[in-house]
């Protein structure tokens, strides 16, 4: 739906029965007396046509922070298992076998370990990228690169680029939401807009330390006025604005923008809490996502369900974040705990999106900022270190080829050797699936045109359905 500012204002004011607002609306609707159109204050977030026809309209990123292990999940390494305890690439490091059982899944026969039993049931939806690689293996810079393409300079995040290129469908909700983002590891830079206008920055809901059921979006309710009184207050405020616009006689676009922004804000504060309220969901749905008091999957389950509700309501991009997959030691226990928290919810999300007919137009991305090494310096072989040279992420839904594994690391898992996909390539591919050409999605700043992929990026069309 493409509403003009005026239609929006009209929609906003009808039903409140405020005479003054009607007057104001008449003023806005009437052609300016001097025949000037004024500088139309374009709504930067209005939906924009893509560069080419899109395969997906929205994106959900299940961010497995800390670096989950590929050889424990989606990339089976029989040679590694056989060579367990032998010396790895470097002295003092021993090869570590996979700690979980492997099975072929679905009709496609993709290998998925028992670590992700629930997600494994969706093997035929998954497009597993096992040739991923990135430039740096420290958490924070890698996470910044994952989100913004750059780990040294402050650049707009992928979600900001998506909003910049596509706008968003529902003007009453933020277009880009980051649920439970980490405070460290670059913090808000991971959903920041850098030199893009601030309107494109992500809206954070809570943070990683706060269970999402307690998380709040800031400034959504007036702490002293009832909703009705606030509407009356807003009516008065809009009269001040209308008075001012009348004084200006002619070019009122700046003031019109303020008037619109208040109506949008007012509607956003009504709509967002509704989207965040899970009480209307059935028990069956809650169970599907693993939501329940005391369950390990409760928190991430809620995140996933929120993501579905937001995508359903027209949010362009939602990112979820799980706690740390960074097991240098205690890998079995740690990865089991992380899987207990995220596996069922992730699978539930795929099921729910599929049965609601949303998965075809929603791209789901799963993974961390890098993966883990095939070896360890620990004696008990129960740990792995950071590996940026080869790791796995997966895509599902929105126009990607299901039941398909693209790329591979070497027989041990040190380095991507086949179907290599650099993070820049992944960004280019995601933009492409969303209808944007990563080379044309540019913004002029400080004398040059910037892109999410800078001067890199190749669209990996092998993954298209």
């Amino acid at each position: 739906m493409f509403l003009t500012r005026r239609q929006l204002l009209h929609a906003a004011t009808c039903g409140f029965g405020s005479l003054a607002l009607m007057e104001m609306q008449n003023r806005t609707l009437a052609a300016p007396a001097n025949g000037l159109s004024g500088q139309e204050n374009a709504n930067l977030l209005a939906p924009k046509p893509p560069h080419h026809s899109a395969r997906a309209d929205s994106l959900i990123f299940l961010h497995m922070r800390g670096g989950p292990s590929a050889m424990e999940s989606y990339e089976r390494k029989p040679v590694l298992d056989r060579r367990a305890e032998q010396q790895g690439e470097k002295k003092g490091r021993k090869l570590t076998p996979s700690h979980w059982k492997w099975k072929r899944r679905g009709e496609s026969g993709l290998w998925v370990s028992d670590l992700f039993k629930h997600t494994a049931a969706h093997a035929d939806e998954l497009c597993v990228l096992s040739g991923m690689h990135t430039d740096i293996s420290n958490h924070t810079p890698a996470m910044l690169q994952l989100h913004t393409g750059s780990f040294t300079f402050t650049r707009p995040s992928m979600g900001s680029w998506l909003l910049y290129g596509l706008g968003t469908e529902n003007q009453n909700l933020p277009g880009f939401v980051s649920i439970s983002p980490p405070v460290i590891n670059g913090g808000s830079k991971n959903y920041g807009s850098a030199f893009l206008p601030a309107v494109f920055q992500g809206t954070a809901i809570g943070d990683i330390k706060t269970p999402v059921r307690e998380a709040e979006v800031g400034n959504l309710a007036n702490p002293i006025l009832s909703r009705k009184d606030q509407r009356r207050q807003l009516d008065l405020l809009q009269q001040f604005n209308a008075d001012y616009a009348a004084e200006l006689a002619g070019e009122t676009s700046d003031v019109d923008a303020v008037i619109d922004a208040y109506e949008l804000g007012f509607r956003m504060q009504s709509e967002l809490p509704g989207v965040m309220d899970l009480s209307g969901e059935t028990q069956e749905t809650l169970d599907l996502y693993g939501i329940g008091e005391g369950l390990p999957s409760d928190n991430f389950g809620r995140q996933c369900l929120l993501a579905r509700r937001m995508i359903e309501a027209g949010v362009r991009h939602v990112e979820l974040c799980d706690e740390f997959w960074d097991q240098h030691s205690g890998l079995v226990k740690g990865h089991n705990a992380r899987a207990a928290a995220t596996d069922k919810p992730s699978a539930g999300l795929l099921t729910d999106l599929r049965r609601r007919g949303l998965l075809d137009r929603t791209l789901v991305l799963w993974g961390g900022e890098f993966g883990r090494t095939p070896d360890t310096a620990k004696k008990d072989l129960d740990g792995r270190d950071h590996n940026a040279n080869g790791y796995t992420m997966w895509l599902a839904g929105g126009g990607v080829r299901g039941g398909y594994q693209h790329g591979a690391t070497d027989e041990l898992g040190y380095k991507a050797v086949e179907g290599r996909v650099h993070l820049h390539d992944l960004h280019a591919t995601i933009l492409h699936l969303m209808g944007l050409d990563h080379k044309r999605l540019t913004h002029r700043y400080a004398g040059r045109d910037f892109r999410l992929t800078d001067v890199h990026g190749r669209v990996v069309d092998e993954v298209f359905a």
Binding site: L44, K48, I184, N222
Partner: protein, 860 residues
């Protein structure tokens, strides 16, 4: 047909004919390669092709454009169709509403062709052009669309017959020396007050435009207050000027504002934007930089003292190397070098040393020279005459400089550690003394631990004994006391004494500590003075030849300075080179920034980019005139420059719309009116605090970052102090890069990691929600209401309403408005009459809508 315009708000967009398009420059570049880069045998063939293409343009294309397109698509058109111009190559490549009109080399991707073919658009609208003409255009575009036409200047070259001289690297306008231009003659001799006005009026008259009338006194006095000090005028100040709006009175007001301590807080903040001021490392590990605020205060003081701008620049680059007459001077000059240390840095990953140098080169070149020199880190600058070698000549200067910005990811604990990480400004920096201090400090920490455990024990014992013994360490224990209890009481009394003793010890030990030295962040010359190797593609692994330390070769020898000795970094010479009176960039860039802050938009609208990819000046002669006056007349005095501009007639123009002028020049490029502006985040917040009476005008000591202490956001620090009310001016809010204060962040505060001399001005629903719901907004509104209700001058609600309007808008309300506002308040009170303080509540709601209104936020 893609109708997307991936730019921002149309109001912020430079019109196509002003932009020198990047595509065009890439094209010239690729044409060079095309012509000369592809091997010997075909070289001549290529050049021949090029000549043939130009011939084609002259014979077929140019006449067709003039005949069929210029009526609606040239600078001389009355109404430019689709915002598309076709009268210069830049314009064609930049395009209009539907994107670039042509894509050189790709006729099929060129909208122009598709429109001529009547595929999506139909142009020219009357009749389709003959197929042969369309074929000519196709061939011409396929040949790279060579086009000798430069941008027409105004209307004087609208027939497209401009001289075929390309804007090339060598004749970049901003590198030409500043010319001495006399003010042009004007027809209307009565209007101009100053030479500035003559420059402005002359351009307007050329276009047949008239300047607006002067703004009314209320608008003018409000404007000048916000512009000079960032605060609204008091109702009394407004009334006084309305009573006597004579020019002399206005001059007095300007002088008062320039002399006030609030001036530096407003104009210092402008500088902090381009100094990418921040108080933490930002980027990957957001480690706090505890002493960055000293640089902030330095900047504010420099503006208040009207330090000559050349001196200001020099101190920031090389203050530590300059002679200092007094200890105070030395202190200040050291702090000044903070500019080079406050940048954002990636402490975890990347190439820290060279990234810091890059940041230093970036800030100096953009902030002071308006050039994007850091583009040349990996390759010769694509557009500007800046070879990679120049970059590494500058890099050598900073490679020979030691940058001290405090802690990395490891927190400094002892005085010795701090001495290694910071610059020490005061006190004895003798290592022996520092060692003693550290021992004392250790003892203090130990005592604090002991005191804590003592406190716990006392508390726990106290809970087990009768109340009469609490805090009575000397009380006698009656003999009849049950032995077990008596024992507890004795233990309690013993512990109590231990606690007291330790507390006394602690106090005494702290006395031994003496004053901690003042630390700062900044730079000093490194022990090793080096030239830098040119790094191919910026890769440290591939060091190339050495680049002798020096400056930008594009300026040639025009600014002669002392040679750089092998024993010094060269920062002193670099500073002297930048502020050399013959440096064509520094003064132009500086006066352009001043102009922007007063007039809403720079004469060069890309204020940080005076390179080829920047926008050309709207009034080149005026810019040069101001630059010369700044250096030679005003001796680099910022205040004198501001005063001159503010006292011009141009500054006094009303911001209202004049239909004729608007149609010719909607962007107000020629300055027929004052540009209406939105208050930036800081003056908006300050004005809210000011009208509510909460504003504390004194300077807070240091920064809240000091109260948080050494550490890293999200890891090991307690930032709860940031949530407490802070009523100082916004320039003093802590700028922790990962936690920008909400009210700044939501209102287009610039990303503090980047040099950004021009702020965005977006209007968003999240701003609305902040003004509708945020606790800080409600607090301000409540205080404002309290102020109105308390004020003994207010006898009635009508008085209060009048007073509220005057405080917020500087204008009195009409009778109808008073009536309406009163009705709102009365009804709000009635609806909430069950609430104890319903009167305050109603007034709070009222006051909030005033400060949230558009009128409060805009300067006309």
């Amino acid at each position: 047909m893609p109708l997307r315009e991936p730019a921002r708000n149309s109001a912020n967009r430079a019109s196509p004919q002003q932009e020198i398009s990047m595509q065009r420059l890439c094209l010239s570049f690729s044409m060079l390669v095309f012509a000369f880069g592809s091997g010997g045998s075909s070289l001549f063939a290529q050049a021949r092709n090029q000549r043939a293409a130009l011939e084609l343009f002259e014979k077929k294309i140019r006449p067709a454009l003039i005949e069929h397109c210029y009526e609606c698509h040239s600078v001389g058109s009355d109404d430019i169709g689709g915002e598309l111009l076709v009268d210069s190559r830049t314009a064609l490549l930049t395009g209009g509403e539907t994107g670039p009109a042509i894509v050189a080399g790709k006729p099929r991707d060129s909208i122009l062709i598709r429109a001529m073919e009547y595929t999506d658009l139909e142009m020219p609208p009357d009749e389709k052009l003959p197929d042969s003409v369309i074929a000519d255009f196709r061939r011409w575009i396929a040949l790279g669309a060579p086009d000798p036409r430069v941008e027409p200047k105004g209307t004087d070259s609208q027939n497209g017959a401009a001289a075929p001289s390309e804007q090339t690297k060598v004749d970049l306008w901003s590198l030409q020396s500043v010319s001495d231009v006399s003010p042009p003659p004007v027809d209307d001799h009565r209007w101009p007050l100053t030479d500035v006005d003559r420059f402005v009026l002359s351009r307007l008259e050329q276009q047949g435009l008239q300047p607006n009338r002067d703004a009314d006194p209320i608008t003018l006095v409000r404007r000048v207050h916000f512009d000079l000090v960032g605060l609204p005028p008091s109702p009394q100040q407004v009334a006084a000027f309305v009573a006597d709006p004579a020019p002399r009175h206005f001059e007095q007001i300007v002088d008062r504002l320039l002399a006030s301590a609030q001036f530096g807080e407003r104009w210092g903040r402008h500088w902090l934007d381009i100094a990418r001021y921040g108080e933490s490392a930002g980027s990957s590990r957001d480690v706090l930089m505890l002493y960055a605020w000293r640089y902030r205060d330095y900047v504010i003081e420099a503006f208040n003292a009207d330090m000559p701008f050349d001196r200001f620049i020099t101190e920031q680059i090389a203050g530590d190397l300059l002679p200092a007459a007094t200890e105070e001077d030395r202190y200040r000059q050291t702090v000044a070098t903070g500019l080079l240390a406050i940048g954002s840095k990636s402490l975890n990953g990347g190439n820290l040393k060279y990234d810091v140098i890059d940041d230093q080169i970036d800030v100096l070149s953009k902030a002071m020279l308006g050039l994007t020199v850091s583009c040349a880190r990996c390759h010769d600058h694509k557009f500007d005459p800046i070879p990679t070698k120049d970059y590494y000549s500058l890099a050598g200067i900073f490679l020979s400089t030691e940058t001290r910005y405090g802690g990395g990811t490891k927190r400094p604990k002892t005085a010795a550690e701090k001495r290694d990480l910071y610059l020490t400004l005061t006190g004895d920096v003798d290592p022996e003394v520092a060692k003693q201090r550290d021992e004392v400090a250790k003892k203090i920490v130990q005592l604090e631990k002991q005191i804590n455990s003592s406190k716990k024990r006392v508390k726990s014992l106290q809970s087990k004994i009768p109340e009469e013994f609490h805090d009575q360490p000397d009380a006698e224990i009656p003999a009849a006391t049950e032995p077990k209890l008596a024992k507890l009481i004795r233990q309690y009394q013993g512990s109590y004494w231990v606690l007291k003793r330790r507390e006394a010890d602690h106090k005494a030990t702290i006395g031994l500590l003496g004053d901690e030295p003042d630390y700062a962040i900044g730079v000093r010359d490194a022990k090793k003075i080096l030239d830098a190797n040119i790094l191919d593609r910026g890769e440290q692994k591939q060091p190339g030849e050495l680049a002798e330390r020096g400056f930008l070769s594009a300026l040639g020898d025009s600014c002669e300075v002392d040679p750089i000795d092998s024993s010094e970094s060269g920062r002193r010479q670099l500073a002297a080179w930048i502020v050399h009176p013959d440096n064509p960039l520094t003064a132009r860039v500086a006066v352009n920034r001043i102009w922007q802050h007063l007039m809403g938009k720079g004469i060069v609208s890309t204020v940080d980019n005076f390179g080829v990819s920047g926008v050309r000046p709207s009034h080149p002669d005026l810019l040069d005139h101001l630059a010369r006056r700044f250096v030679h007349e005003h001796k680099w005095s910022t205040k004198a420059m501001i005063r001159e501009l503010v006292l011009s007639r141009t500054y006094r123009l009303s911001s209202e719309i004049n239909t004729d002028a608007y149609q010719t020049d909607p962007d107000n490029r020629l300055r027929w009116r004052m540009t209406r502006r939105r208050l930036e985040a800081e003056p908006l917040r300050d004005a809210m605090l000011a009208v509510s009476g909460l504003l504390s005008l004194g300077r807070p000591s240091g920064s809240l970052v000091m109260a948080i202490g050494e550490g890293e956001v999200g890891r090991n620090i307690d930032t709860s102090v940031l949530d407490e009310p802070f009523d100082h001016r916004s320039v003093y809010l802590p700028i922790i890069r990962g936690i920008i204060p909400e009210q700044l962040r939501l209102f287009d505060f610039p990303e503090p990691s980047n040099v950004q001399g021009a702020r965005d001005s977006n209007t968003t629903p999240t701003q609305s929600l902040f003004l509708m719901n945020a606790r800080v907004t409600i607090r301000v509104a409540r205080e404002f209401a309290g102020r109105l209700l308390r004020d003994p001058e207010n006898y009635s609600d009508d008085d209060r309403i009048r007073s509220a309007h005057l405080l917020c808008f500087s204008t009195p309300p009409t009778d109808a408005q008073i009536q309406r506002d009163r009705r709102f308040i009365q009804r709000m009170m009635k609806r909430n009459e069950d609430e104890a303080d319903h009167r305050r509540l109603a007034w709070t709601a009222y006051c909030q809508s005033l400060i949230a209104s558009a009128k409060f936020r805009f300067i006309d």
